[in-house]
Amino acid sequence: MKKLVFLTLSVLIALSLALCAFAENGLTGEPPEAPPPAKTAGTLSLLNMTEEEYAVFVEARMRAGDRMIREGYAEVQEGALNAPPEGEPPQGESPEGAPQGEPPKGAMPKGDRGKVVYYDTLDALLMALNAGNIDSIEIFQSVARYLCATNDNLRMGVSYDTDGTMNAFARLIQGGINGNDFAFLMLEDHVALRDEFNAAIADMKADGTLDRLVREQIDDLIDGGEISPVELPRFDGAETIRVAVTGALPPMDYVAADGTPAGFNTAVLAEIGRRTGKNIELAVVDSLGRAAALASGTVDAVFWTRTSDTAREIAAMTEAEQESTAAALEADMTEEEVRLIRSLGERIDFAAYGTSDMPEGTVTTDSYFSDVFVPVELAVSGQQ
């Protein structure tokens, strides 16, 4: 009898403890507190992002991310792996201001920078994601949008609005840290050609051609259009410019299966060719072999995705101008934003970012396109 009582009481106690635990977690649906495991991201080697840069980038995204979301610059997919930590939101507008308070304790997971793994081709990157070797892909937003539009099993973790006006902090994060500008890389000897390209690019910006090409070759495509072939200009007796394409960044750097020229970069090139009166020839090159192809003279120009207009502007300033620009920017930021930008600036050399990976003896054109990095993940079934 005593044994029975004892046994029953222990079962009851165990059961009620279990029920309490369930009530804590199961009924309210809250997961137990545990730090998230470090994530592994994959990216393309051709983006030339060092591990330290990646670490700074992840930190910047984490610390700036929630603010970017609140202010409408970014949107996060529910349940996305790379979403900035939740629980920090604010509040409404009124002509007078509104109530807020301190950020929740423990909102920032510490030390969870995650790892980055480099892949040479887009196919290898996607295979690794599908195989579960990496948790996410870090890639340009246009490429991400294209991949997600053409692959049901992928989704974007975070998306950025790059069109609207941005405050000083957002401009620095988007332009300086989160984004790159695209240009053409050439050998120093070809600086005259580079200048011709620059003139054409400037005209294309001014007369809306670049905007049209972005719409036709990127946006419309992502919205369900077809890749349309690009007609390369033919001028009898004119100089031929050979440009390397890799196919690693559709729909910008795109290689059609049958080899017909297509994609945004090609369309931009064709337009430049028309305006400079030069023939354009494309050469498909391994992404790792671009610099060598340029150096050996196999090609005259290469698509280069790591320039930074912001960095270039800063580098062109005198020290006094740099200080004044920094002071003006800081006056337009909150204390926390200033602290964040300063601490990130200590770890990356903003001014050198756009040129630090350029091979010896090369120059770039002005940029013709800008994009930001976003994470792409596997879509859990039922979500997209």
């Binding site: 009481l9 009530a23 202010e71 509040q91 409404g92 807020q100 308070g101 301190e102 950020p103 002071a327």
Partner: protein
């Protein structure tokens, strides 16, 4: 045996009730009354509270004044609550109400919260964990875009040469225990700009006991006066009467703060023009009375 089984059943019932009571208590409601200083312009207390409560319950993004509002409140984990809001015409009124227990928490920008906490042992920073929000501060003018544009020029210059950031550091970030009054330069024959000061946001909008203005806004005005070569006259005005003082011409300039810098219309339909923002703030605190 029967007795034992009845005892067992009773124990099981007790456990079940205890467990469900525990989970039920998570749904019991508690009301938290928050205070804020504002002119009741576009929204009543109930409307604001309703929006905040709804967004809290659903965690949804809302539209407020056609702006996206990410308004999810993070309450203490073991409690559920409903917000009520009370508006006050001045900081003094709000603090009196806090002291009298009429409100649970008084809302204010971080610099004001720190200022008060440093001077009042009976106050503490609130238990609510809200996210920080980027609030921007502007100078307001009425049908005077010309003066506004001149002020903007001076503000840009002050930003570029570091003066504005230095003032901010001195008066708001590392404010001294005693805020020294600020001197104004006078200009013979120049116009006089009357600026409304409320004293409700120390150490930014701050008035000494003897009525003389001090603090960041005053220092900013003094610098603007020098650069524009105008005389500055300070008027003490109640927070609730700020906008009226501007639109009736009692004051030429007032101070405003707004959330959502990118959505702010600087040339408003009601004739009010706003300068470029001269300060941005991260955090608002809830100040509570210590138990």
């Amino acid at each position: 045996m029967k007795k034992f089984i009845s005892l067992l059943m009773a124990l099981i019932m007790v456990f079940i009730v205890a467990v469900s009571a525990h989970s039920q208590s998570a749904l019991a409601e508690r009301v938290y009354v928050r205070g804020e200083i504002r002119e009741a312009i576009d929204m009543t207390e109930d409307q604001l509270a309703a929006i905040m409560n709804e967004s809290f319950k659903n965690g949804r993004n809302l539209k407020l004044y056609d702006m996206p509002v990410h308004a999810v409140l993070v309450p203490p984990a073991d409690d559920d609550f409903r917000l009520e809001t009370r508006f006050f015409g001045s900081l003094t009124e709000m603090l009196l109400a806090l002291d009298a227990g009429l409100i649970d928490g008084a809302c204010m920008p971080e610099f004001t919260a720190k200022y008060l906490l440093a001077r009042n042992d009976d106050l503490r920073a609130g238990m609510f964990e809200f996210g920080n929000v980027r609030e921007s501060y502007y100078l307001g003018f009425y049908n005077n875009a010309e003066l506004r544009d001149r002020v903007n020029e001076a503000l840009s210059a002050m930003k570029a040469d570091g003066t504005l950031y230095a003032l901010r550091e001195e008066y708001l970030t590392a404010f001294a225990a005693d805020l020294a009054p600020v001197a104004f330069e006078t200009f013979e024959g120049a116009q006089t700009i009357r600026v409304a000061v409320t004293g409700d946001l120390p150490p930014m909008d701050y008035v000494e006991e003897d009525g003389s203005p001090a603090g960041f806004n005053t220092a900013l005005l003094s610098e603007l006066g020098k650069r524009l070569e105008v005389n500055i006259e300070i008027l003490n005005v109640e927070s609730s009467a700020r906008t009226i003082s501007l639109t009736t011409g009692v004051a030429d300039v007032i101070f405003w703060y707004l959330y959502g810098e990118n959505y702010v219309v600087t040339d408003r339909e009601d004739g009010i023009q706003l300068s470029d923002p001269y300060y941005h703030l991260d955090n608002w605190f809830y100040i509570e009375k210590k138990d």
